[in-house]
Subunit: 198 residues, 4 copies
């Protein structure tokens, strides 16, 4: 399968998972201002999926073709991404109550798995240049490898924080999503200008 | 990232957000004629998203490539567009009751933010021709810049009206969507014929 | 806008509207065999949207480009197609009870409007060859014009039947969807072989 | 219709059906650990749809064009695939209760029909090379024909098992999905490397 076709399917899952998040927002449990955790949860998860979408394209830009193992890892990865709306709702509905700990841990585990499977996608493709394009940019390849490795550990650390103090953990997930957006857009400008010209 | 790929993802979010609006329509609270505000809300928001879709393509037609800042602004923009189904349901369910004011204000704020982020997309790309195509049509570029600036202020004004009289505000949002559709299709015919031939 | 881009958006709405139909199927109101009207409703509406999708491509194959009026008619058309899941649920849930008449009439009006707007799309594009491809096949163009005209009247007739006897009307909608599938696939084989080779 | 256009629509339905599965996961009926059957059901059905997606592309890679009969069989096939979320929820919610037998049988019938219609797609296209590409690989064509034939019988057998012992049947469906993923990714590596290079 060409990598273009794979991206179409992945983009579909990203777009649907992000858009379905709105179904979690409802005013059954309080006034429009009282349900602010739902707005924060919506924004944090939408931005997280948005960043995953952007990074997925950065990765796919370096990839020439897909084999069936790669497809199956991607299906597993998309399965976890499409799961994000569920723990998002859990956190939004329970952060101010008894279920806060279980909810934030569930959120953290989901994002840790997402990051881990994203690593699996990348390192399966990059090891020995297995699926990379012949003209893949060595610097970009090394850059992705260096950055991606931290993802799962960071989310795992936030999950541990959430297990100790759910509110601090939840703030951590939100701040991390925001940090990624700002880092990408402000500091990543030079980098992307260059690669966009390809 | 090429602008074509960005459009595929954006189109996915537009299509899903518009189609999800139907999930807000239900007859749990009255007979099929009694729930007419739900039909009006569905139509107004579907048309609004449809117009956003058309305008987004007009913008993207002038754009050559995307950098990461542009991608992140677009993700933020899509986040607000995908939020539209929620205040739509609020207005449809509450316009005849106590929650009418809060609901129409929420609707107005969402559309104001949508218009503001649409401006951010455009002016980030157009300032100094940063992301424009080398052969971008100067007249079209100036036309977009001139029209877009009014969007957020118009929606903000309607939001203020909704805060004073929710029913008048709601009618305003509906009339404005309809006006856009008619303006686009009847008066915009010459303009678009020309650009469609490109 | 190129017609290819328009088709991507329309295909997205078709695919989502058809797939959302499954959310209407639930066993809250009876055993798995007792809810058979839900299965029939799901199948009838899925097939109807599937046929609309196939026919939309037949139409778009003859079209060269889109102007803004054409886009706006298409948005209106998609708005009605995306509405189909709602009356489908109404019919499935009420066909054996008091609300059968209102439900089947709502279903009929939705499909009548869908067919009417599909006509609007076609005749706006075809009148004087306004948006047709320079090499559009005159025979196919005449064939579409001849067939499409009947659609709204047929659905209107079925709606009148449904107003008199809801069960007969509902059977009529189901039979008509099935007839279209069979007609298309069995009798339309020669026709499509030819056009597919283009 | 070109086979590329057909794939876009099919991919849309696959992506939406898979992503909608998350709407079945909810904690209304118990704690986050108590609802483990929902996680297993989500994973099994997501992987099953993922494998269908991969196999559908393998099939479409051999196909040159589509006629209307082929389109209609595909619509029927997608109708059954988009139905999968419903029996998935049934199994997840009832596997530990009275409705386990009916739920697993419903799941089995859905997957049996999916496999049967997938066969109909393939053998309609392949019989006498009707819709195959002129340069279709005879070995791949023979390979697909040989493998596909078993699908419906395997699912039918699992359905019979589910009718006798629902829990054993449910485990069977899960194991079979997992087996397919592993078989595809580990043993299918050589095969796909080759075809991916096309």
């Amino acid at each position: 399968m060409s990598s273009a076709r794979l991206e179409t399917f992945a983009d579909g899952v990203f777009a649907i998972a992000a858009t379905l998040l709105i179904l979690n927002v409802n005013d059954a449990e309080g006034s429009l201002t009282h349900i602010w955790p739902q707005y924060v949860g919506y924004a944090a998860s939408f931005l997280t999926i948005g960043i995953i979408w952007v990074n997925h394209h950065t990765v796919m830009d370096q990839i020439d073709h897909a084999d069936r193992t790669f497809l199956m890892i991607t299906v597993g990865f998309l399965m976890v991404v499409a799961f994000i709306p569920f723990p998002t709702r859990l956190v939004a509905e329970n952060i101010q109550g008894d279920g806060a700990r279980a909810a934030t841990i569930a959120y953290g585990i989901t994002l840790t798995l997402t990051a881990a499977l994203f690593n699996a996608i990348w390192f399966y493709a990059a090891r020995g240049g297995r699926l990379l394009r012949p003209d893949a940019d060595p610097e970009t390849v090394r850059g992705i490898s260096k950055t991606f490795v931290f993802g799962p550990w960071l989310y795992l650390a936030l999950t541990v924080v959430a297990a100790i103090d759910p509110v601090v953990g939840a703030i951590g997930f939100g701040v991390f999503a925001l940090f990624w957006v700002i880092e990408s857009s402000v500091f990543g400008r030079d980098r992307s200008h260059r690669s966009a010209e390809r």
